[in-house]
Symmetry: C2
Subunit: 458 residues, 2 copies
Amino acid sequence: MSQNNIPYKIYLSEDEIPKQWYNVRADMKNKPAPLLNPATMQPMGFDDLRPVFCDELIKQELDDTTAYIDIPDEIRSFYKMYRPSPLVRAYCLEKALGTPAKIYYKFEGNNTSGSHKLNSAIVQAYYAKQQGLKGVTTETGAGQWGTALSMASAYLGIDCKVYMVKVSYEQKPFRREVMRTYGASVTPSPSMDTEIGRKINAEHPGTTGSLGCAISEAVEVATKTEGYRYVLGSVLNQVLLHQTVIGLEAKAALDKYDITPDIIIGCAGGGSNLGGLISPFMGEKLRGEKDYQIIAIEPASCPSFTRGKFAYDFCDTGMVCPLAKMYTLGSNFIPSANHAGGLRYHGMSPILSQLYHDGYMEARSVEQTSVFEAAEQFARVEGILPAPESSHAIRAAIDEALKCKETGEEKTILFGLTGTGYFDMVAYQKFNDGEMSDYIPTDEELEKSFATLPKVNL
Amino acid sequence: MSQNNIPYKIYLSEDEIPKQWYNVRADMKNKPAPLLNPATMQPMGFDDLRPVFCDELIKQELDDTTAYIDIPDEIRSFYKMYRPSPLVRAYCLEKALGTPAKIYYKFEGNNTSGSHKLNSAIVQAYYAKQQGLKGVTTETGAGQWGTALSMASAYLGIDCKVYMVKVSYEQKPFRREVMRTYGASVTPSPSMDTEIGRKINAEHPGTTGSLGCAISEAVEVATKTEGYRYVLGSVLNQVLLHQTVIGLEAKAALDKYDITPDIIIGCAGGGSNLGGLISPFMGEKLRGEKDYQIIAIEPASCPSFTRGKFAYDFCDTGMVCPLAKMYTLGSNFIPSANHAGGLRYHGMSPILSQLYHDGYMEARSVEQTSVFEAAEQFARVEGILPAPESSHAIRAAIDEALKCKETGEEKTILFGLTGTGYFDMVAYQKFNDGEMSDYIPTDEELEKSFATLPKVNL
């Protein structure tokens, strides 16, 4: 079929929701490096991780050989409430750009959490419930992950404690209220509920918190409270595994119309969306069956892939969590205050880091004013108001489509539209008022941050 | 097919988007009364309405005999970006309620405007462009309509001037920024740009505005600016006509599975969603082909149907717009300040008013704390965070489903879920904090308001 006869939105049926997640590690020759125990600096096994994570999730975290892992029926039932998500042909954007390229995006924003995060939140909450736990703890910054976990916990009837970076708690009251509406308890971090919170409050009176501190608080509460475990929304292998529903659905929808993308683009913060989107395509590439140009897009103000080091580092600023081998800017790196586009994490998924290191994908960084320009252009013609995070991918997709306009190539571009920007209007306002600026960390700043990388001898 | 085998979401294909709107007036024995000229108190014809509305829209406004009106191809193309909207089977809600009832809802929130308003906004903007106009003006309160019109105008490349009630402009900056992102100019009303704005500002220094004043400003700008017309998001016959895509799609989806609803429920402010949802079903009822129980739900604090008078009244508080014969609380009625649930309009669609007057539908009012209880319950099990307006219908659907639980009846309930509540978190916060109260206007208050009804002798 000609690509001129594709519907605006390709919907799969509910029966076509994947029955298994795809574990790309099974097809990787060089496996991602294991997590290290921060106390001993030795690889962590199942028992080391049990105080923090649910048993079934640890198995998934450590399993780098099983290619397909069954999705439990109850999770598939939940997925049916908002999946399959549409694969959209961006006809209006193509027309506005005057490009011969064919652009498709997998839209993950059609659920109340407003992003793809729900795909993993429901899984983590499900296994916690299966294990007979009372609840889960987590941290949230901008709030997408916290919202997703609140929704999943409400659905399953387990408790959800969210530590929200204090500055977000105060400046994003609407996000906080969404979580409360779903029955979660939301605590501004640093709080006085935890040892580490009290310590940080004593050392830095009046601090507005950081993601690293919130992680440390959530982990402390999980490990010290009977019947609770900690859950995380990105970076971990298990999270990428759950997010492969994005890529599996996208591939099934494209296959239905015999479409093979030339270029696959995703934004990258911790890597959950990018990893989920590209995994099935990457699998074909790793097995030598097909080739794709795969591009990770990150903010120039937080450039883990493009300017970071591939090294063992702490996953949290508080240095209490396991270490992962990944592209990192150093665990105390904090993007400039003027950075409004999300994707603020200092590190990157170990799976994606290894794949990038081995040359299976590219990475580019983009500056935020150009990201918001792309967001606005996209919103006006495609109707969807994109999250700033997602707009990084839009920027790159537009750039690639404009290249095709110059060369006349009819490339097929697939990108991930991870979510909606309804709770990001402060950033849009800055952009609308012409008050948004760009920032790129200097080499000196990065060197200073790299100096905190731990020395690891394995 | 048994109703136990229905998918969670029934999606139609893009080919099944309606090709014609259905004009329920064609099947009404008693037609809705004509609009009256506020200067002469005489029925308004095509020429009387030309300074305010686009020609093609006036034709639709006045046409009460043509049953089906073609939808232009360009509008159907736009519809394809976000339609067909899903008809969702509320399995999770049914389970949570333990009811034998089968509940379906037509979800209109999956677009950036967050509601069904976009269905008519694109039509009105389209005909303005067809007529060679430069732009459109309108008013907005909460902002759903303004957002929808901004999106439609951006898509078609015409100008959009929105007069936003000043208190909303200040308290809902995010709504304002969404409209600006779509390129609309947004002016707090009353402004100093118009004669009526300056007059009101002089008479009431420091006023935070009202919807009626914003309407008057938008109409003044439209009639005094070369190449502009005024557009409205509800109440008018033309708007109900455009919104019939909701009901036509819902009916097509139900027909596909041989499902006949027993009860059809919609929230009612000006009537655009309710009218759109019920029209095709009402048509069958008017023609004597089928019977349905049709229920309009309105807030107890703004009870046009249940406590209003069926009389000619002004459509705006400023008394400069045409008069319509409708159920009204009086054009200077303003709901109590504690009312957070939307649906604040003093009047009601003339079409729905006539149908209600003739006994073809019922109406009920509900109090807002019970509305937010229903909203929260729905959000937790169905995942979608509903707009307060839509939650009025949820309340009634839950009540009907609970009645079925008592009687054991397996009734099929269809309701309209008009939109999402992302920009209504201030109201949710009030509810979460236990600070929401109910208010019902006293008979004395209503009598005072009825006293302003104009005397009309036709």
